[in-house]
Symmetry: C2
């Protein structure tokens, strides 16, 4: 007599169906070629009757597959991350994988910790939105046949698929647009670049662009950490002479929000006193009217998970870089201004 407080095992099913564990196992893994119809039905009934569900743990132990995919994201509060999660989750679910979600908070130590945990759970694959610091652990993971796909950010020395975007191109596109709109003093505001490839590439692109266009003197890069430094940077930027059409270009939606709030608190109005553009495209950009460089994060999550599932399915083609398209979404925060037009240019009466 089985009691219902214990999960049924394959042995219970075997007994109920009057066959051996082996046969049940064959049924479970769809090796039905040599199973008699009669037997098949009996097993089917036993499983239904017992509400049997095979244990992934036991399964994975022998088969060395857990059907778990780990994903380490840098900041779970960021809408960019959320969209990625949704994309990855959709794909994983479709292929019967489950997602172990970890939030590194952009902290390399926490990230390392999570890599260990995920390894202990025998994840089949890992989607990595990395801080960029844990190269050696990732290489070791890879050597143990755990598939890795990098998302958005690169890790030097890793020869794996990467799904991201062309940051240099996107930065140039945004800046070209701003210049066309008449802005000649642009501040790029980002979290500290640290070892994060995306941020580094964007800052480099920004610096090249403003140098090429001769506006580097009025176009600073601010690496801000914490609210106080943001306030100081914004204040300094807005006070800098000579007054001319200024715009703030933020590196992601979290900073965008903070920067916009700071501006508001300092008494500046968007776009009357300062233009705004940002990487990422949070859903609220629509209602506030912020021009953005949208990188379909959902698509990135989908693509990364797709690549991982393909690798797990035996795809051994060369590691590749996949770029999702960046799209400039023009909204009210970057109106056309006369070149060199000064601050307070169109504040409504």
């Amino acid at each position: 007599m089985r009691d219902s407080r214990r999960r049924p095992t394959i042995a219970d099913v075997a007994k109920a169906a009057g066959v051996s564990k082996t046969t049940v196992s064959r049924f479970l893994s769809h090796q039905t070629e040599y199973i008699a119809e009669e037997t098949y039905r009996k097993i089917e009934q036993a499983i239904q009757g017992l509400h049997y569900e095979p244990s992934q743990m036991a399964r994975g132990l022998k088969a060395k597959r857990s059907r778990l995919i780990g994903i380490i994201v840098a900041d779970i509060a960021n809408p960019f991350t959320t969209a990625i999660l949704r994309g990855a989750e959709d794909v994983c679910h479709k292929h019967n994988y489950s997602l172990l979600v970890c939030n590194s908070d952009n902290d390399p130590a926490k990230e390392q910790n999570y890599i260990r945990t995920l390894r202990s759970h025998q994840i089949d694959g890992l989607i990595m939105h990395t801080t960029g610091y844990n190269q050696s652990m990732l290489l070791a993971l890879q050597k143990e046949k755990t598939q890795v796909v990098l998302l958005d950010r690169d890790v030097s020395g890793m020869h794996v698929d990467l799904v991201g975007m062309d940051n240099t191109q996107a930065t140039y596109d945004a800046l070209n647009y701003l210049v066309r709109q008449g802005y000649r003093s642009i501040a790029y505001v980002t979290a500290p670049t640290a070892d994060i490839s995306t941020r580094i590439e964007r800052v480099q692109a920004f610096r090249s662009f403003v140098a090429e266009h001769g506006i580097e003197e009025h176009s600073p890069v601010f690496q801000v950490e914490g609210d106080q430094s943001l306030i100081e940077c914004m204040t300094a930027f807005m006070n800098k002479k000579p007054v001319m059409a200024k715009a703030v270009f933020t590196g992601n939606a979290v900073i965008l929000l903070k920067a916009a709030l700071v501006m508001q608190n300092l008494g500046y109005r968007i776009p009357y006193d300062v233009g705004f553009i940002s990487f990422d495209d949070p859903d609220w950009a629509d209602i506030v009217g912020i021009t953005t460089v949208s990188q379909s994060a959902y698509e990135m999550g989908v693509k990364a998970a797709d690549r991982l599932v393909a690798r797990l399915g035996g795809d051994t083609s060369d590691a590749k870089r996949f770029h999702v398209a960046a799209m400039l979404k023009e909204r009210g925060s970057t109106p056309q201004v006369a070149i060199g037009q000064s601050l307070n240019r169109r504040r409504p009466s």
Copy 2:
């Protein structure tokens, strides 16, 4: 000779340290009472040298604990959900649990599917932001000693901890505030209530309140599904005579955003033509200036995970309901208006 492409096992460690698997296992589970200092050191070194990490799969198989906690959320794109995830993740990480995140999309069938999957992964506990329909499966899970904590939404007949808020009270607080501000025609806009307890409670509270205050005639409840029906509802509400101070009360941040956009597209301005208030408190409410009923979702996530961890730690006290405080955050979208004041009351020149 072990090759580095195979993960080291406890047997490898035992061999390297010159002891038995048993002793290593004791070391791993901190039963160090009877381990000689010399032995302890040798094991420690072997583990370090091999980069050994015990397999949770193998561990869990015998010990019947996976150190996995499942969480099924209704909508991963909702900032409310994100905040919950962050809270739950923080707690789980602290207690060395990992989070299996599933997104039901408010679809009972998908939810059921996920419950099965999580069961197959032998989760130790489940945090459930439920569609409300899968009571029997949850009861079965519970019978198998999987701890369940409900989040935000109730499931009838389940005797487990629930972390949520006092929806009736919060609804009354918000409506009392609106009435004090002078609004007499309030539309409550929600996704279809279906079997979701939170939504049902709020709608009931809304109906009671408007009846008690004699404003039910001008205060409809809209259960909207899809953008088209939202447009129709908003149009009807704004056109309804007699014109008087109107406000829209949305059931969550996702609908808030949609409704606000619809209003904007219809040419109405917030708050000049219509007041806005909403449940949830997305980060962008600050910059747009939307008054909200904030229910610290992060705290809810933390509390739910805390309860679950406590239960897993052996807490067998009676199932309880935990209410996080709701807080009215007054912002620009609900200015004081003269009672009965009509539409377009303060549109700026």
